[in-house]
Symmetry: C2
Subunit: 192 residues, 2 copies
C-alpha cells in the first residue's frame, strides 16, 4: 500500500472514530483535520465532501451485511442454523469493523434523498430476509409459534447493539464466546 492510501486509511479511521463519539452532524471537517494534525483544506484530499464520506462508508459496510445474508439464504442450512450463522457473521463484522457498524446503525438518518430512500429499501430487504428464515422455522415447527413480526424485531434488536462492545476497548469480548452466548439467548432465552 502506497503512502497516499496509508494516509487515506488513517483519515478514514480518524473520521469514523470521531463520528462515533460526536455524531455525524456533530463532527466537523475541522475536528477531523485537528486529529490529523493538518488544516481543514487537506481533508478534501481524501474525500469530495462530508456527505460523500458518509455514503461511501455506510453503503460499503451495508453491502458486507447483505452479501453475508445472501450466502446464508441460498445455503442448505436449517432455519436454526441459518439464524446461528446470522449471529455469527454479525459478530464477526462488528468485531472487525466496529466503527463502520456503528456508523450503519447510528447515522443512516443523515443520508439525504434520494439516497436515503435507497438505503431504507435495502434495510427493509434485509429485515425481510431474516423474517423469511424465521417464518420457515415457525412453519416447520422448530421455532415457537410466536408473532412473526415481533420475533424478527426482537432477534435483530439482540444483535444490532453489539458494536457497543467493540467500539470501547475496555469492553472487548471474545467473539467466539459472545457468539455462543447470543445464539443461546435468542434460541433458548434466559430462563433455566
Amino acid at each position: 500500500m502506497n503512502v497516499v492510501n496509508l494516509k487515506r486509511k488513517r483519515f478514514l479511521e480518524v473520521s469514523l472514530k470521531l463520528i462515533h463519539e460526536k455524531g455525524f452532524k456533530g463532527t466537523t471537517m475541522r475536528d477531523i483535520a485537528t486529529q490529523l494534525n493538518c488544516d481543514v483544506a487537506n481533508v478534501y484530499n481524501y474525500v469530495d465532501s462530508k456527505q460523500a464520506l458518509l455514503e461511501e462508508k455506510l453503503f460499503e459496510i451495508s453491502g458486507a451485511f447483505h452479501e453475508s445474508i445472501n450466502n446464508i439464504l441460498i445455503s442448505s442450512y436449517s432455519p436454526v442454523d441459518k439464524l446461528k450463522a446470522i449471529v455469527s457473521f454479525h459478530i464477526q463484522l462488528t468485531s472487525r469493523r466496529p466503527f463502520e457498524v456503528a456508523l450503519l446503525v447510528n447515522e443512516w438518518r443523515n443520508l439525504k434523498e434520494p439516497i436515503l430512500s435507497k438505503f431504507l429499501e435495502e434495510k427493509g430487504g434485509y429485515e425481510d430476509k431474516v423474517r423469511s428464515i424465521i417464518k420457515e422455522g415457525i412453519n416447520s415447527g422448530v421455532l415457537r409459534d410466536m408473532d412473526l413480526e415481533i420475533a424478527t424485531f426482537a432477534m435483530l434488536s439482540s444483535i444490532r447493539w453489539l458494536h457497543d462492545k467493540y467500539t470501547d476497548p475496555a469492553k472487548t469480548v471474545n467473539p467466539i464466546e459472545l457468539e455462543k452466548q447470543i445464539s443461546d439467548f435468542i434460541l433458548e432465552g434466559i430462563r433455566a
Copy 2:
C-alpha cells in the same frame, strides 16, 4: 390547562417529532417554527435554548424509567417477575411517550458536559440495577448460568428499540400482546 400551556404542549410535540425524524442537530429552530406556523423568535417563548429543550425532556423521561425500576427493585417480586415487570413498564412508557423514549435512546450524545457525565452515570446505574436482578436469578438457579454481562446487555437490547413500533403509526402494536411476546422471547427464546 390554559392557552399558554396548550401552546407549549404543541411546541413540545412538534419539536420531539421533528427531532425524531431529523435528529437533534439536524433539527433547527427554524424547522420547529415552520411547523408551528410562526417565526423563529416565537420559539423562544417556550424554551430558553435548544440545548435546554433537550436536557429538560431527556431527563424527564429518564426519570420516569428510574422511578419505575426503583419501585420494582424494592418489591417482593421474584427475579423473573421483576424482569417481566421491567418489560411491562418499558412497553407502557414507550407506547405512551414514544417520541420522548426515542429522544432518550437516540439523542443523549448531544448533551454537553458536565450534564453528559451526569446522564451517563444515571444510565450506568440503571444497567446496574437490571444486572443485579439477573444476577439474583442466576444465583438462585431460576435463570441459566450465562455470562452476566451479556445477559444484561441482551435483555436491555431486546426492549431498547421498542419505540420504533410506536413512533410510526403504521406499526402500532397492542401493548398487552407485545408485553407477552417480548417477555416470552427474553425468558424462553424462539426455539420450540
